[in-house]
Amino acid sequence: MEVRIQFFALCREKTGCDEATLTLDPATSLPELKQVVLRDFPELETLATSLIFAVNGKYVNDFCILNEGDTIACFPPVSGG
């Protein structure tokens, strides 16, 4: 199945792209997604322990199962304000 992934801030600069399409196994979990992202975008490795993922514009926990067509946001810790 295919999902869309968007990168923000330092993640966008390191990957060099705003967004990409990922091909995942059906019923991929969030921790599995993270492994795929680090495999496809090894330049994010230095951020591995602090990467944050949101699915369809919402924070999710590690038990989240992804679905075809989901939009995933990948970003480093926030620093607004």
Binding site: A9, E13, G57, Y59, A73, P76, P77, V78, S79, G80
Partner: protein, 148 residues
């Protein structure tokens, strides 16, 4: 929703607009907080900042923070505006205004909302240092290599 205003903008934040957005006949207090661009951080001199947001999610997150604050305190109205793009020293980066019958809950709620914004809303800042280097501010991330 009608008792709150949430906005991500590239324009200058006008504090009077925030105050007007929370004026209410049942309010005895209005608190306004402005976050402004500081020149010195731990002795390092900032030249300017760049802010980036995941706009749609940022607005949803701010709205849920406001909803939570309204459950904790008897607030009349709340307005939150965060600016993105290029900001100079002294520019207002974020404004939070709240109104309530009495001042105590208004002070507390405004601080709560601002603290939560810094914790969870998907907005990021990049420091352009006076020495010409640039660096994303990502709390907890080590070895964030400067980019030029």
């Amino acid at each position: 929703m009608k008792n709150s205003v949430v906005e991500i903008t590239r324009e200058t934040i006008i504090s009077d607009h925030l105050i007007d957005a929370v004026r209410d006949a049942n309010a005895g207090a209005i608190v306004l907080f402005l976050g402004t661009v500081r020149e010195l951080t731990n002795g390092q001199q900032t030249s300017s900042l760049e802010y980036e947001a995941f706009d749609n999610m940022a607005i949803t997150e701010i709205q849920s923070i406001i909803d939570e604050s309204k459950q904790k305190w008897p607030l009349q109205k709340v307005a939150v505006v965060h600016r993105i793009g290029h900001l100079e020293i002294g520019d207002v980066a974020v404004g939070v205004a709240a109104s309530s019958p009495h001042r105590k809950e208004c002070f507390e709620a405004t601080q709560f909302i601002m603290d939560r914004i810094k914790q969870s809303v998907p907005i990021w800042k990049k420091e352009n240092w006076a020495d010409g280097s640039s660096e994303w501010v990502h709390p907890g991330v080590e070895n964030t290599e400067p980019t030029t």
